[in-house]
Amino acid sequence: MNSPILKISGLTMDFGGIRALNRLELDVNAGEIVALIGPNGAGKTTFFNCLTGIYKPTAGEIMLTPPGSSKSISLKGLKPNHVTEKGLARTFQNIRLFSQMTVLENVMIGRHCRTKAFILGAIFRNAATRKEEKQIVESSAAILEKVGLADQANEFAKNLSYGAQRRLEIARALATEPFLLLLDEPAAGMNPQETHELDRLIREISKDGQSILLIEHDMKLVMSLSDRIFVMDYGKKIAQGKPSEIRANPAVIKAYLGEDVDA
């Protein structure tokens, strides 16, 4: 049952002479919550960008196996929109909402890749298009209900509070129907109350069967949420394992706190 849906092997990314990712190995199993941690500049966001097609990795392989299917698809070299179509959706570290659109419309954009209406459909607004539009609105509203933003559906995204904007990013990603959700520092800048709500939201999403890979600096959140943790430093994986194992891992402590001079 625990077959990996995402398997990354030997992933390397060079920016000129700088090796941002160095033969990274990582896997995510179906239904798991996996955390990726590491000091600033370790290459976590670069890794996400490689995964979602924003960067093209120098070497290595990214294999995605949709749940219930035995065929693997390589994501390497795909355009970001195709990666999303394959079932991988992400949020951004620095919030990238469509601020001039309403909350509902932001989520509706997420439905784009699962719908079809085009020029002619838009102009003639035939029965199929009308039905599709109705479905887009309804499913978007259902997602907003889930993340607790239904009351603010008609507000402009820019007028939301910081925590709500983070949740809207998650809602927008969910609208693309991913089976693996990538969250890039979802709790950054949140107060304890908001972090607590986020914790609950991520658990709920996970309960629906979605696999989650998250980058996070809030160790309390990471330790309580994740099934497994990967630790990165200088583009390399330095440790992996259950939260309890990571807590005691000397390499991790060294990466975060530095080496003891006396030792």
């Binding site: 924003i54 954009i109 784009h112 539009e133 887009i136």
Partner: protein
Amino acid sequence: MSGLKVIKKALLTSLWFVFLTFPIMVIKVDPVERIIRWRWQNSLYVALGTFCVYLLAQFILQRKIKKLESQTEQDSLPKESVIHRILANPKQRNLLIVALSAVILAFPLFSSSYQTNVMITALMYVVLGLGLNIVVGMAGLLDLGYVAFYAVGAYSYALLNHHFQLGFWAVLPIGGGLAALFGILLGFPVLRLRGDYLAIVTLGFGEIIRLILENWSEFSKGPSGISNISRPGLFGIELSLDSAIIYLYYLMILFVIVTIFIVNRLQDSRLGRAWIALREDEIACQAMGIDKRKTKLVAFSLGAFWAGIIGVVFAAKTTFVNPASFTFLESAIILSIVVLGGMGSIVGVIFGAMILILLPEYLRALSEYRMLAFGAILVAMMVFRPQGLISNIRRTYRFEKTHSLNVK
């Protein structure tokens, strides 16, 4: 600012203006008598004029600042303009539509053919503005070479009519289609560009098309252009010049209505949302599964399509085309229509086109100061209403808890 201070500042400003305008307003060389005339009274007019304008501008600014200060935080959204308030009220809106359509339909009956001709031009620019609005206003791609597509449409009618005697109605879709094709052609190399870089490349593209038309004489007859293009036909009936103009006027009304209808529908569709998302944030847009390439190309080609259609109409209206009609200035005017009217706003673009095309015509009374006045009006507009005449209040999707779709 206290009153005395303002007056002092106004005095200084007017003196400064007298100094600046001295060479053109006071000195006049009379080449016949070989003397210099000193028109000192002009400097007095300049001083007085500047003084008054300065005080007026200060007064308006002060009032605006006071209004802003008194506004609470709640009113951070743009205030609804008069037009929007009228449009929001169905009774007033219907009245307005009936009155407007009566005036529009009766217009050629009580005005001279010169007036009708001017109005046809204005209507053509309405459609051009709406077409460019798709590219600039909705998709956020700054296109400075829009006139190239207009030229493609005009020349496709001119050439097909000249060589193959094809009629207006046959060429209309061909011209539009060809322009759309050129839109895609331009779209491919600029897919990765944004902002200033995109503007420069599109500007270059517009010039390339014009220069080809100017220099490839075997193909386009060069700067001398193509004349004797047939006017649009009406079921094979020969029309006199006057009735041909009236016919073209009603045709343009039809085009404007169809364009408004289609642009409006596009704006409220899945595609329209994708354009707005693309304008807001390209990376997030792609991460949400929107095909950036396809969405941009569609915006370019749809925008170009309208330009091509109007190009055909232009060739049919003037019965003569040459490359001089498709200079950068045309692109700039169409872009000003979109910006002045209010980016992304359909009503705004219509107003913008009317003002930018009709104003210079009716300012002819001011003879040589016409363009000066026109420029001053534009500058004043952008200072006092930077969001355009009628800013775009987009129809947003509203969702009520009753699970019903309400498009407001």
